[in-house]
């Protein structure tokens, strides 16, 4: 158990011990969500701002509910209904939020490093809710939480991440988290979207889907990030589905206890067959439930001040 961080900017700078601390803390918050009264006063009087410069449903709502369940006040701020349209810079927007005494700023931005920049210019705690193709730390934490809950451990597991790795912040955060926790990560997808350079992050890269998922304990699917691709990276969606989509026939050739994950939003019939998305081996909706618990844990831990962990009896 250790946590002394003020910001959650990425997984890369976390230790395995810190990741485990978040997961352990999240377990208690998941239990809170299952009670009749789902709210605790841990962040009473704190102000949280959701600064979402890029569209999001799942993550924004998840953070919003997490803050509310911790009794914080939360304000949502989205790009299309804000002064960004009038030419205000990110720094000025953040400074204005700080002038309103925001304690936490949760930022999603299309530019990699935007949360890191904010952490240098304002005093609030910054949480990265996705920055470009760089990182999406709470997604990786909730994925690790979900895996640990089902498989009871992470060390030694075979995790295959299948899809658009190149443009995926979810993939990068997951690679960091899973390798730090001792899993064996395999990346698979079209060679244009899964370059060999990812091997430098400590994972295996292959372009043969059947081989990639054969020994997998977890198959983690990713959506094609059309919005980030400057040019077409493969001939057609149909071809992608044929070559890399997860269907019944492919799933039959995997381990019988292999579980399927997806950070959403899913594109039914593209990276995943509709039937498989809804099957008992799919953890997709559980990931959403766990995301709330993990985000409560992150807010709770970041709210802690400096000094010893010891509490007054």
């Amino acid at each position: 158990m250790s946590w002394n961080k003020k910001h959650l900017l990425d997984i890369e700078s976390l230790t395995a011990d810190e990741i485990v601390t978040v997961l352990d803390t999240a377990r208690a918050f998941k239990a809170v969500g299952e009670r009749a009264i789902k709210k605790v006063p841990a962040l009473r009087g704190k102000t949280v701002v959701n600064l979402f410069i890029e569209p999001s449903t799942r993550t924004r709502i998840s953070f919003e509910l997490a803050a509310q369940r911790l009794t914080a006040d939360i304000v949502n701020f989205s790009a299309d209904a804000s002064s960004f349209k009038k030419g205000e810079t990110l720094k000025d927007t953040a400074k204005n939020l700080e002038a309103l005494n925001a304690d936490f700023i949760i930022i999603r931005h299309s530019a990699s490093g935007a949360p890191h920049f904010l952490s240098r210019v304002v005093n609030a705690s910054i949480i990265n809710a996705g920055d470009g193709a760089h990182e999406h730390p709470t997604q990786a934490l909730l994925d690790a939480f979900t895996i640990r809950e089902h498989k009871k451990k992470i060390v030694g597991l075979n995790v295959t991440i299948l899809g658009d790795i190149l443009y995926s912040r979810v993939a990068r955060s997951n690679i960091w988290a899973l390798t730090k926790l001792g899993a064996k990560v395999t990346l698979c997808g079209p060679s244009t979207l899964v370059p060999k350079t990812f091997e430098q992050m400590g994972c295996r890269v292959t372009h043969e889907v059947d081989e990639a998922i054969r020994d997998a304990d977890i198959i983690h699917l990713l959506r094609i990030q059309h919005e980030r691709q400057r040019k077409t990276m493969f001939p057609s969606i149909g071809e992608y589905t044929t070559l890399f989509g997860l269907n019944k026939a492919r799933l039959a050739k995997t381990k019988s206890d292999a579980l399927i994950m997806h950070p959403g939003p899913i594109n039914r019939g593209v990276e995943i067959d509709s039937e498989i998305a809804d099957c008992s081996r799919s953890l997709i909706l559980e990931q959403v439930t766990n995301g709330l618990a993990v985000r409560m844990a992150v807010l709770f831990l970041l709210n802690g001040g400096k000094g010893p962990q010891e509490v007054a009896t």
Partner: protein
């Protein structure tokens, strides 16, 4: 720095690092056993209707003590006494003043509505943990009564809180520490700096 980060589990380490501090065993296993037996009898005497009584330990120290008390009470009453654990860390009043505390599981596998809840903790000091516990318990229902049992009352209250059942009153100085260890070897240690 190391001294600042110690907790109950690693007091021995601190003793190695700060040989100036002095530790005395103030209760051994026998004395703890006697104190718990007496406390259990006091709980039984106060609460004649045994079926209404449930024990809830506050982690970490209160949980094994609740189990011990529950065992003795079950022998006195010849019925099994429900036992739970209640983590209070989300209800503390000092959350942004120190590193976030470790959270333990809350397990209350029974309905507290209309029950006599005996909260169990190892050491009563400032009273802030108990205030948080009363608050946390609110989320689970409305007990008929809440009582408090502690193994050690060391004084120095910050809040108007008093235990109903005390294993031993130990006068202490504010800078001393009381460590309760329940497990393979039961003992209570008073550490002076």
């Amino acid at each position: 720095m190391l001294g600042a980060s110690l907790d109950v589990g690693c007091w021995m380490l601190e003793l190695l690092i700060f040989p100036m501090s002095e530790a005395t065993v103030i209760l051994d296993a026998n004395a703890i056993g006697r104190a718990l037996t007496r406390t259990a009898h006091e709980i039984a005497e106060r609460n004649e209707n045994s079926v209404e009584v449930v024990l809830i330990g506050i982690p970490e120290g209160g949980v094994p003590l609740a189990q011990r008390l529950g065992k003795i009470l079950s022998e006195i009453w010849k019925i099994s006494v429900p036992i739970g654990s209640l983590d209070v860390s989300m209800h503390r009043d000092d959350l942004d003043q120190r590193a976030a505390p470790k959270i333990h599981p809350t397990k209350i596998p029974f309905d507290v509505n209309g029950k006599i809840v005996v909260l169990v903790d190892d050491v009563l000091f400032s009273g802030r943990t108990i205030r948080a516990a009363l608050d946390a318990l609110n989320d689970f229902g409305r007990p008929m009564k809440i009582q408090l049992a502690v193994l050690i009352d060391r004084g120095h209250r910050d809040l108007p809180i008093k235990a109903d059942f005390v294993g031993k009153n130990v006068p202490t100085a504010a800078n001393e520490k009381v460590h309760v260890r329940i497990g393979e070897k039961d003992e209570v240690i008073l550490e002076r700096k």
